[in-house]
């Protein structure tokens, strides 16, 4: 049995895992190394101990009776939910969020394990025979609840970054039947949100109207109706403009556009309502949704986001240039990575990361050390290894007979992708600063342990792919 498991474990994934762990520790060593001799009380020393304990524990996982995992999924999920609630009351408050349990010298962040637990519960629920996400409304709601509830609790802790990670489960839902257009709708909504920072509402509306009309034309193939809608919108807008001009009213152009579009869309929606023409109903609705959401951007921005989150977004979009304040992190991070050049300054030779120019250099900004010391070769190497690992996980997931394992694999890939992508993007100024760690690299036991566990449970499940059906 023992030797069988070892034989069946996916060696490529295992290799990639150890590659990342080793590279990660080397970079932590470099960024916290102070020139004196090796010490277990230093950050790199502690991290090494954690890696060793972690690896021992993972070997244990490999010998776990694999059939237990699906059966205990809900219990684990429930237990983690309990911890997430508990941490709100007895957790340690550090850096504005209450997300840590402190037990003696040991710190535990339940949010890191919540992703794994959610993946287990999701796999269990969505892995049931014959589940169709889009046809059973109740099932969809339960699925969304499984994902959203821990995210909500984590948001309550004040850890918006970790909460946002749960958005990555959208990939899992997509794999399990969520239509592609839902992804497109969400993608366009994100674009609308971002573009409000860069272009005027008038321009945005005109682009949206033309774009949606084009989509409508392509998807329905109805040329006459599209033209009619366009003419109606233009005509109504003209009337609006004339009203402004003749009565000297001070009404913004975008309000005129909004009213014209609303009239045309609502007429269309009433006409097709309950006639089974879903597409002709949804597209005008979407147009209204996007235009409405553009108005709500400032509301969301001003009232939902916290001050530091607003600043981070402003810094990302170049609206605020606060090189000494909040923008400092990103600026210094880019300097550190940029100064690495093509081949880097050499291991242990980085100056930006070593002399603390980059804050949180061994946790959220560990990628800076890679960039500075290993250069473009190092950074692109890390990205390629992560991408290969993700592809490998998807490949393994697809070869499962068990839907449970497949969903679990997609969850792993999604969460891993989100973490790595957002972390790298924020260090190079492509995403706002969202404090989430780079998997296998960033200092910290909870993150390391949670991701390793996630990966090894998956590998263990995969090793039994021929015996596991469900």
């Amino acid at each position: 049995m023992k030797s069988k498991v070892i034989q069946k474990i996916d060696l490529i994934t295992l290799l990639l895992y150890f590659l990342l762990i080793t590279a990660g520790w080397m970079n932590i060593y470099s960024s916290s190394y102070d020139g004196s001799g090796f010490s277990f009380s230093s950050r790199y020393g502690k991290e090494l101990i954690m890696i060793l304990i972690n690896v021992l524990f993972l070997i244990g996982i490999l010998f776990l009776e694999v059939h237990i995992i699906p059966t205990v999924s809900y219990y684990i999920y429930g237990f983690i939910i309990l911890l997430l609630v508990l941490v709100l009351f007895i957790g340690d408050k550090t850096g504005g969020s209450r997300s840590w349990f402190i037990i003696g010298n040991f710190k535990l962040q339940p949010a890191e394990f919540a992703k794994l637990a959610t993946a287990l519960a999701l796999a269990k629920f969505a892995g049931r025979e014959g589940l169709k996400i889009m046809s059973n409304f109740r099932d969809l709601i339960i699925l969304l609840f499984i994902i959203a509830f821990p995210a909500f609790l984590i948001l309550l802790q004040g850890d918006a970054g970790s909460a946002l990670v749960f958005a990555s489960f959208i990939f899992v839902l997509y794999r399990q039947g969520l239509p592609f257009y839902i992804l497109v709708i969400i993608f366009i909504e994100i674009l609308v949100f971002i573009s409000v920072f860069f272009i005027s509402l008038n321009t945005l509306f005109i682009i949206l109207i033309i774009g949606i009309l084009l989509i409508y034309r392509i998807l329905t193939g109805n040329k006459r109706e599209t033209r009619l809608a366009a003419l109606l919108i233009i005509g109504l807008s003209m009337i609006g403009f004339m009203y402004i001009i003749f009565f000297r009213k001070n009404i913004p152009v975008n309000i005129i556009l909004l009213i014209s579009v609303s009239i045309v869309s609502v007429i269309k929606m009433i006409r097709v309502f309950n006639k089974g023409k879903l597409l002709q109903f949804i597209i005008p609705l979407l147009l209204l949704f996007y235009i409405g959401s553009a108005y709500s951007v400032d509301y969301v921005f001003n009232n939902v986001l916290k001050e530091h989150q607003q600043t981070r977004i402003n810094v990302l979009f170049g609206i605020e240039k606060d090189i000494t304040g909040v923008g400092y992190n990103v600026h210094q991070s880019e300097i550190a990575i940029g100064s690495g050049g093509f081949s880097g300054k050499g291991y242990l030779k980085g100056t930006q990361t070593k002399f603390n120019f980059v804050p949180e250099q061994d946790t959220d900004f560990i990628f800076c050390t890679v960039g500075e010391e290993w250069g473009f070769i190092g950074t692109s190497g890390v990205i390629i290894i992560f991408t290969i690992l993700l592809f490998r996980i998807l490949k393994i997931a697809e070869r499962q007979k068990s839907v449970y394992t497949r969903i679990f694999g997609y969850s792993l890939a999604s969460v891993l992708f989100f973490h790595y992508a957002v972390n790298v993007a924020m260090t190079i100024g492509l995403a706002p600063v969202i404090g989430i760690p780079l998997p296998f690299f960033s200092y910290g036991g909870s993150s390391l342990f949670a991701f390793s566990l996630f990966l090894f449970v998956f590998l263990r499940l995969d090793a039994e792919r021929n015996t596991l059906f469900s």
């Binding site: 997509y174 794999r175 991408t387 492509l430």
Partner: protein
Amino acid sequence: MKTKRFIISFIFSISALVFIAKLFYIQVIDDSFKLSAENNTLRHVTIYPSRGFVFDRTGKIIVANQSTYDLKVVPRSIEAFDTVTFCNLIGISKKDLVSVFKKKKYSYKPVILKKQINGEEYARIAENLYKYPGFYTEKRSLRTYPFPVAANVLGYLGEVNVDELKNDTYYQSGDYVGKSGIEKVYETDLRGDKGTEVFMVDVLGRVQGPYKKGSYNKQALAGKNIVSSLDIELQKLGEFLMQNKIGSIVAIEPLTGEILAMVTSPTYDPNLFIGKKLAENYRKIEYQKNKPLFNRTLRSMYPPGSTFKPINALIALQKGLITDRTVFVLNGYDAGTHIVKDHVSGAVSFKKSIQMSSNAYYCTVLKLIISDKRFENYANAYEDWRTYVKSFGLATKLGTDLDFEKQGILYSHKYYDRYYGKGHWNYNTIISLAIGQGELGFTPLQTANMTAIIANKGWYIIPHIVKDIGAAGIDKKYKEKHYSKVNEKYYQPVKDAMEAVVSGGTGMLAYVPGLDICGKTGTAQNPHGKDHSVFIAFAPKDNPKIAVSVYVENAGYGSTWAAPIASMIIEKYLTDSISRPWLLKRISEANLIKNK
């Protein structure tokens, strides 16, 4: 289901490509980050060399360095502290402290909080500074002048101005540079070479150690020490004697041209012009009455008065117009339009003409010189006389090693041609020149140099203030002899007569037994007020060690003030003592400014 996996893989790949593209841009294409990184972490610290000292000719330090400290702060790295206690400790107002932080709240760059804290204050502050993280002191060097004299000779340092920055890449804004005197002229010798240390610093500006083990460091090279020709004790005595008087004393060693003392009065304490005190005190002193910043020894052009008579005597001797036995029977000199008065009358010998300072004798001499038949006209004769005068370094820029030297006044014949018309002037028109009046203006340095020429019997070395610089030595032009146009053999009778001036003539107050002082009094008429009291002297007669010129403005007769001052300078230099304390007291206590 293949498409779904494909689309998800596609999203993963696109993200990876976007990241790699952006990384390629910032790491390989865009160079600006490398520069920022270097500015972030490397700190180039200028190591200021210690500026050269200045010694006097006896080996006493007359210009030295003192350590002061600048208090600096890295605003970003401070912690909350008790501002009241801190302000009391540092001695600044809370308002100033707040204003520093308001401007540069987030700065990682050090800001100067207080400049030039002296040693005593520094000790007190340093003891308590550990309580205030982010604050530190940096050592700076300032000048100090152990003897509060010779300010105009030594000069002072000030911050470089825009022009100096532009003309010499050595300087950085905020550097100190010599602005006058020795400090200015010998700036390049004194300043030395700056060094650099390259440190790596962390985000709080804390030094993490030398960059590449110090291989980019450059040692600072200390400035050269300078030995001045001044005798600081003599200078001190001179300034003491000249207090409450306007005027100057220049003492030269005839054999070498070395300036032994260079007194201009009124003067100021050079220690007033150190560091941050400069700006405030400069303004105060610049506008003071009688201009203490004006170096009279180089810039005042006085008529020499009767001290010029020996020169006319020498020229006439050289020209063969008189001999040392020539006697004129005189009762004043009839200049046509007026009679030049003379307190000597009857038969006046050559020796007596100098000893008793006969005006009429030298009017006659000048008449002989200008009406010399060997020349076509008066103008030519005048022009020849003028070249003789100039060969004594008079009305000539001597080329001394101090700045702002004036040339003096001695017009060419064209001036008189223009003024009176060509051919419409003769010796009587310019008869004042015979007795050192009229259109003549020599600086005290030139007069002292003239005295040295008489002492040397015909030659001089350009007077200079610096005797030695490090190992290289001084400019060789300060070793060359310059000869007057009067032959050596004509000097002896003049020297004999000048000896008689002191031993039994108009300059008897300059007599010191056993010193063989030779001198000549002068009373320079001055259209603006009372006559200037002038005296030139050298001693000992046959082996001259010192030549002096003394001007006391608006003081009256040369015999009364200038002569005793000159004699005490000579006595002090030759014997290191003053044998007539009563005279010292009388002169030093006299206030000759009040009537101006």
